[in-house]
Amino acid sequence: MMKAQSAILNFTFSRGAFSSMPIYDDHQALNGLRDLDSQVIGAIYDQLYPEVYRYVLYRLGDQSVAEDIASDVFVRLLEAAQNKRGPQTNLKGWLISTASHAVADHLRRIYRRPTEMITDSIPDLGLGPQNEVDLREQNNTVQQAYAQLTVEQQEVLALRFNQGYSLEETAHAMKKNVNAVKALQFRALAALQRQLGEVDYE
C-alpha cells in the first residue's frame, strides 16, 4: 500500500512540474498531438485553453458555455490531429478558428439570428416594448450591445480586439480579403456604437 501511494505522489509531482513548464514550440506540440502524448496534450491545454476560453467568452458572454466550448475545441483538436485534418503550422490559429465555428454552431442552436441585417432595436428576446426600453437603459453594457451584432460583425471585433489579430490575420482567419474586412470592421463598430446608444453619434 505504501509503495502504491508513493508512486502516485511521484507521479503527481512530475506532472505538476511539467505542466508549469511552458512549451510553445508548435512543431513539437503537433508531433506530440499526433503521438497522443498526454504530457504534451496537457501542456498544450494549459497554455492555450485560457486564450480559447477568452475568445469564446468574448463572443458569447456566458462563462459556463465558454468553458464547455473551449474544452470541446481541444477534444476536436485531438480528433483532427488523428485524422490528419489538424493544424499544420499555427496551432493557436486553428484553435481560434475551430472555436469560432463552435460558437456559430452554438448560436444557430439557441436561436435563429439574422446573419446580414442588423436593426437598431434589440431583436426578439420575447420581451415587451417597455421591457425592451428598460433593458437598454439599465443594462446598456458593451456585452449586450455586442450580442446584438451579426455573427460576422461579432467575429471581426473578437479577432481584432480580443485576440489582437492584425487586419491581415483577421482576413486570413475569416477567409476574406483585406478590403472586405476593413468594411466589415467599420460596419461592426458603427453597429456597436448604435447599440451602445451614444448620444454624440448623429
Partner: protein, 416 residues
C-alpha cells in the same frame, strides 16, 4: 470616399493598438472627425470588454476530459484493429451478455477472464454483471454482506490501478473520509472536491463516492453521499490480503463492543480492514478472529467467524501473548507477535507438533483447525501460540492441558 474612411479607420485602430488617444487621432483626420470619434469610442469599448478568467474547476474538468479522450484514442490505436472494427458496438453488448450467461452456466473458470478488468475496458461490464449475478443468487443476508464488502474492496483496487496508470475513468466506491494536511482521502484514495461536487466531505464520515480518476492521481469527486451510521466499508487497504505472506493469529472471545471500524473482543481491540465476516456480528457474540499485526502493533482482523453461542466461552488466550523465545527467529519487528506460521522454522515446528498431536496435516490453516478441535475440550479458546507452545513442549502428552496453562500464564503479557 467610402474606401477612404475604411482606411482611415484601420490606421486609427492600429494607432490605438499602440496607445494613441482618440482626440489626437480625430485631430489628425479633421475631415472624418464626426464619423471617426464614435467609431473609435466603440473600438475602445470593444477592447475593454470585461472578461472573467476561466474557473480553476472548469479548466481542470476540461483537462481531464481531454486526457481521457487521449487515453481512449491511445487504447483504440494500440488495440488490434480487427477486434474493434469487426465487432460493431451493438454486437459487443450481445457478446458480453452471452459471455455472462456462459459464465453462469459453465462455472468460474471463465470469470477469471474478466476479473482483472478495469472501468472502461471491454470485459469490465462482464465483471460487474458477474458480481451482480452472483449476488443475486445469495439469499443469506450475512453472506451477501460479505460478498458486497468484497466487491466494494474490488472497487478500491480498480481505482488504485486507474490512478497508478493515470487513466481517467468514472468510478464509485465506499470508504471513510480522512483529512490530512488539507488533502482529503477516502479509503486512502486522494480525492478532490470541485464546486460541482454534490455533497460534502467531513473528516471521519463514512461515505459512498462517485468520481473520476484523473491523470494527476486524484479522484475528482462528482457525488458524495454519507452512509447511515453502522455501515461497514473498506478502510482502504488497496493491497489484497495475502495470508501467504503474513503472520496470522487466532483470537477467540466475546465481542465487548462494536464500532464502525473496530471491535473489542475480550478487551482486545480488533481493527476491521478488508475483513471477511462470516455470520452476523453483534455485541456478546462469540467469535473466532483470524488476523495479523501491523508494524505499529494493531491487530487487524482478516476473517471473523461468528460461532454458536453454545460454545464454551472460557478464558481466551490473547494472540499477542508471547513468551516463546523461538519467535526471535522471526524477522518481525513486533515483539507482541506470536508465531510466524510462514517462517520455515515455524512450519517445521508445527509439522512436528502436528505429528505429535496425531494430526498429519502440515498446512497451517488445517493445522489450526486441528488445534481447535483438540484444545476445544480444554478451555474452549485457541491460539496458534498454543500450538507453538505445544510444539515446544513437544513431549507434553496432553495438548489441552498444556495450552490452557500457557494461556493462563500468558494472559498478562497481552496488549503489545
Amino acid at each position: 470616399m467610402n474606401n477612404d474612411i475604411y482606411d482611415v479607420l484601420e490606421a486609427c485602430l492600429q494607432s490605438i493598438e499602440r496607445g494613441a488617444n482618440i482626440d489626437s487621432l480625430v485631430a489628425r483626420y479633421p475631415q472624418f472627425a464626426d464619423e471617426l470619434r464614435p467609431l473609435l469610442k466603440a473600438a475602445l469599448s470593444a477592447r475593454a470588454m470585461p472578461l472573467p478568467s476561466p474557473s480553476a474547476s472548469g479548466m481542470r474538468r476540461g483537462r481531464s476530459q481531454l486526457l481521457q479522450k487521449a487515453a481512449e484514442m491511445r487504447e483504440a490505436k494500440s488495440a488490434p484493429r480487427a477486434r474493434r472494427s469487426v465487432i460493431p458496438l451493438f454486437q459487443r453488448l450481445a457478446i458480453s451478455l452471452g459471455l455472462t450467461t456462459a459464465l453462469v452456466f459453465s462455472g468460474t473458470g471463465l470469470v477469471s477472464a474478466s476479473s482483472n478488468a478495469l472501468p472502461g475496458e471491454n470485459l469490465y461490464q462482464v465483471k460487474r454483471t458477474w458480481e451482480d449475478v452472483s449476488l443475486f443468487f445469495v439469499f443469506d443476508p450475512s453472506v451477501r454482506m460479505v460478498r458486497q464488502n468484497e466487491y466494494e474492496q474490488e472497487r478500491l483496487h480498480e481505482a488504485t490501478e486507474l490512478l497508478a496508470e493515470g487513466r481517467p475513468e468514472q468510478i464509485s466506491f465506499a470508504g471513510v473520509v480522512v483529512e490530512q494536511n488539507g488533502q482529503f482521502y477516502i479509503s486512502n484514495l486522494p480525492v478532490l472536491l470541485t464546486p460541482e461536487t454534490k455533497g460534502k466531505l467531513e473528516n471521519g464520515a463514512t461515505v459512498m463516492a462517485v468520481g473520476r480518476t484523473d491523470a494527476q492521481g486524484f479522484v475528482v469527486l462528482e457525488i458524495v453521499e454519507v452512509l447511515p451510521p453502522g455501515s461497514i466499508v473498506p478502510l482502504g487497504q488497496p493491497v489484497k490480503v495475502d495470508s501467504g505472506e503474513r503472520d496470522e493469529f487466532h483470537l477467540e472471545g466475546k465481542i465487548d463492543s462494536l464500532q464502525q471500524s473496530e471491535l473489542t473482543v475480550d478487551g482486545r481491540v480488533v481493527y476491521l480492514q478488508n475483513t471477511t465476516i462470516e455470520g452476523a456480528i453483534s455485541v456478546g457474540a462469540q467469535v473466532d478472529v483470524e488476523g495479523y499485526f501491523t508494524s505499529d502493533g494493531k491487530f487487524i482482523a482478516v476473517k471473523i467467524e461468528v460461532e454458536d453461542s453454545s460454545d464454551g466461552d472460557g478464558d481466551n488466550i490473547n494472540p499477542s501473548d508471547n513468551n516463546n523465545d523461538e519467535n526471535s527467529n522471526n524477522n518481525n519487528s513486533n515483539d507482541a507477535i506470536l508465531t510466524n506460521d510462514n517462517s520455515d522454522d515455524a512450519n517445521s515446528d508445527i509439522t512436528g507438533g502436528g505429528a505429535d498431536d496425531g494430526s498429519s496435516n502440515s498446512v497451517d490453516e488445517k493445522k489450526n483447525d486441528g488445534d481447535k478441535a483438540d484444545d476445544g475440550s480444554g478451555d474452549g479458546s485457541l491460539n496458534k501460540n498454543d500450538k507453538k507452545n505445544n510444539d515446544k513442549a513437544d513431549d507434553g502428552s496432553s495438548d489441552g492441558g498444556g495450552s490452557s496453562e500457557d494461556g493462563g500464564s500468558d494472559s498478562g503479557d497481552g496488549g503489545g
